[in-house]
């Protein structure tokens, strides 16, 4: 029994060290001259798992959990500005089909979420000890209450899932290393949220989704490239699912959007672009998106919360 736990500990430690090594290598590569593509699937060769790599030593299990639409984050309640965009661009001129209009929105939305959120995700992953500062700075950078509520609601839901469901399996058993730091910082952050009274002018910890996403994924042993990639795919999924429910397109069409090479390339391009962006240089690249999201409150009828 004792020996068994020992083995588990060691495996855990190895995967921990491996992920740190990969992160360090990635940072070294980023610091050293020309940028290479950030392959989100370093374990894969031509789409297959590398020979000799045990499926359990790769974080595939965690990946499946984190990309599951059944992960209870409540993401289905948010259209990320799509609903308001549709209302603001009505009626469409004859030359623009609803699908073309949606394609434009998806492209803008992906560029915008990448420029505003990716720097925070990557920073939280690389420096989990700065969780609270990053959360504060992200809150300061969120320009409207609609977007703020959406981000905080999903962030806190992720924190709850971590505490109630994942922690037991994934919490780092060792006392040092970056994942242990991340784990401690999550605990402290969660305590911080519980002890603040949520008044309007309060500037205590909020729990923004991108920041917590970075730290939770780190603890679960997911590679930094994958953390970014899955966040972006999940965002695209949320927008497409909202599009289906807002009757922009049917479910098959939505899946074909999701499966498209165009979407994959778009996501990879945005990740590449934001890979070295400092959080202080994160910002909105699509100013009208702030207007659409901010004016969601003015819609006569709403099916989404953002």
């Amino acid at each position: 029994m004792n020996q068994k736990t020992n083995i588990q500990d060691i495996t855990k430690e190895i995967s921990d060290l491996e992920s740190r090594l990969q992160d360090a290598k990635a940072r070294l590569a980023a610091a050293n001259g020309p940028k290479e593509k950030h392959d989100p699937w370093p374990h894969m060769q031509n789409g297959y798992l590398e020979k000799g790599k045990d499926i359990l030593s790769t974080p595939i299990h965690a990946l499946l959990l984190l990309s599951d639409s059944a992960l209870p984050l409540g993401s289905f309640a948010y259209s990320n500005g799509l609903e308001s965009f549709l209302a603001h661009n009505k009626p469409l001129t004859r030359s623009i089909t609803p699908l073309a209009s949606f394609r434009r929105f998806l492209k803008l939305s992906i560029a915008s979420i990448a420029s505003t959120s990716l720097p925070y995700i990557l920073a939280a992953y690389r420096h989990p000890e700065q969780l609270e500062t990053l959360d504060n700075d992200m809150d300061a950078s969120t320009p409207c209450i609609v977007a703020q509520r959406a981000s905080v609601a999903q962030g806190r839901a992720l924190l709850s899932v971590w505490e109630r469901s994942f922690r037991w399996t994934y919490a780092s058993k060792s006392d040092d290393g970056i994942t242990a730091t991340a784990c401690k910082s999550l605990d402290a952050f969660s305590d911080g949220i519980k002890s603040t009274i949520g008044t309007a002018d309060d500037i205590g910890p909020k729990g923004h989704f991108p920041v917590l996403w970075g730290v939770v994924c780190l603890v679960m042993g997911v590679d930094i490239q994958q953390v970014a990639y899955i966040f972006m795919v999940n965002h695209a999924k949320a927008v497409l699912s909202a599009a289906v429910r807002a009757s922009v397109m049917g479910p098959y069409q939505a899946q074909s959007f999701l499966a498209s090479k165009e979407l994959q390339d778009m996501i990879m391009e945005r990740i590449d672009r934001e890979w070295d962006t400092d959080v202080t240089d994160a910002g909105q690249v699509v100013p009208p998106l702030d207007l659409w999201v901010g004016r969601h409150e003015l819609l006569y009828s709403r099916i989404f919360n953002s």
């Binding site: 009505k90 560029a111 504060n136 700075d137 809150d139 969120t142 002018d201 500037i203 004016r295 819609l299």
Partner: protein, 383 residues
């Protein structure tokens, strides 16, 4: 305008003759300009007893020019007790714009209870085209250092003491075709104060599509605008309260090197991302002096007609009855106001063109009246 500029000259002899100027200018040393770096400027405003706004520092160096003036305006019905007279600071650059490589860096300190209006009397900030010094470098992803060398940059940092107020309603930036520009504005508040003792600020930051008369339509390469508000407590610890950051970057510019034909054919990425607006902007409000204005704008925003609501009472056609904003508001301005954290109100807007946005905002601010009441009509000079 010439009259206004001569009044604000910092020469001591003119000072005395300017009838409406009672602020005590520091005696200028002939060597003073050698202290500042090119493009740097420093201003400190203090209130000397009984209540005389006084500039204790005023330095600047080419290509920057700073002028100050204290008009006779005294706030009569202020939101706060015993308001001081506002001092005007004019930011000027030689030639009325920024050339590639120009770096402007202005640091302003507003000591407790002082008031300042910062304005741009030369009109819009013109951002001139970035000249291609080395065509070969264009093909590579530029490094940060290279990026900065051929870019114009303007930094403004303002420390606002307790009960002090800043009103900064400048003309918009007008980035010319192929220009690159970065603007970083940092405002630091006294974090140890509460209620009516808080610092106040009103900051407008807006950018247009370029020179419409020349057919420019978001044809610049990069415009990055960042506004940060920090609070600093007694221990000197700083906390970020608000960061508003807009990046308008024609990313395809990096991929397709300068090439007339290709340039004309492809759609500007910035145009696509700002569509359908010709101007976008942000207004940041904070503090006791602007509380009323903040509430007014929030109320005006939330009482806009619902989007997609049908106007059942009118017999208009369905297309017309999809009301957007009929009650005096301009049809061509899309805006939102949000009470974000720590008591800030953030207004974001997009409009068809500069004139539309200017009239819309000018009308709103005049109708509410706080800015004119607290700082005088001249504070709305650009609107």
């Amino acid at each position: 305008m010439p009259e206004l500029l001569s009044n604000s000259s910092s020469s001591p002899s003119l000072q005395a003759s300017a009838a409406d100027d009672t602020s005590n200018m520091p005696i200028k040393s002939p060597f003073e300009s050698s202290i500042a770096k090119p493009g740097h400027g420093e201003v400190t405003l203090s209130l000397l007893p009984p209540s005389i706004p006084t500039l204790t520092t005023l330095t600047y160096k080419y290509p920057l020019k700073l002028l100050t003036r204290t008009p006779g305006f005294v706030p009569q019905h202020s939101a706060v007790s015993a308001p001081s007279r506002p001092v005007h600071l004019y930011l000027l650059t030689y030639g009325g714009g920024l050339l590639p490589g120009d770096h402007i860096d202005v640091s302003v300190t507003l000591n407790p209870k002082t008031r300042m209006v910062v304005s741009t009397p030369q009109g819009s900030t013109k951002i001139f085209k970035t000249t291609e010094t080395n065509a070969n470098e264009k093909h590579h992803r530029s490094t940060r250092a290279h990026e900065l060398s051929d870019m114009s940059q303007q930094k403004l940092s303002v420390q606002i003491g307790s009960e002090a107020a800043l009103c900064y309603l400048p003309d918009p930036s007008v980035p010319f075709k192929d220009s690159r520009y970065e603007q970083i504005q940092t405002f630091t508040l006294d974090g140890a104060t509460e209620g009516d003792e808080r610092s106040s600020l009103c900051v407008l930051d807006w950018v247009t599509q370029g020179r419409t008369s020349r057919g420019e339509n978001w044809d610049f390469e990069l415009w990055r605008g960042k506004n940060e508000v920090w609070s600093r407590n007694k221990m000197g610890e700083k906390k970020l309260l608000l960061r508003d950051s807009v990046i308008l970057h024609d990313e395809a510019h990096e991929i397709y090197p300068e090439d007339g034909q290709q340039d004309a054919a492809r759609l500007s990425e910035i145009r696509e991302r700002t569509y359908p607006h010709g101007v976008v902007g942000t207004l940041i409000l904070y503090g006791p002096v602007f509380d009323q204005l903040s509430s007014f704008l929030m109320h005006r925003f939330t009482s806009q007609p619902r989007i997609g609501d049908r106007n059942w009472s009118s017999s208009a056609t369905p297309a017309e009855s999809l009301v957007d904003s009929p009650s005096g508001d301009s049809q061509n301005v899309t805006w939102s106001a949000s009470r974000v954290r720590a008591g800030f109100v953030l207004v974001k807007f997009g409009a068809e063109d500069f004139e539309t946005a200017k009239h819309w905002l000018g009308d709103l601010l005049r109708e509410e009246g706080s800015v004119v009441r607290e700082f005088g009509e001249e504070a709305l000079f650009s609107l």
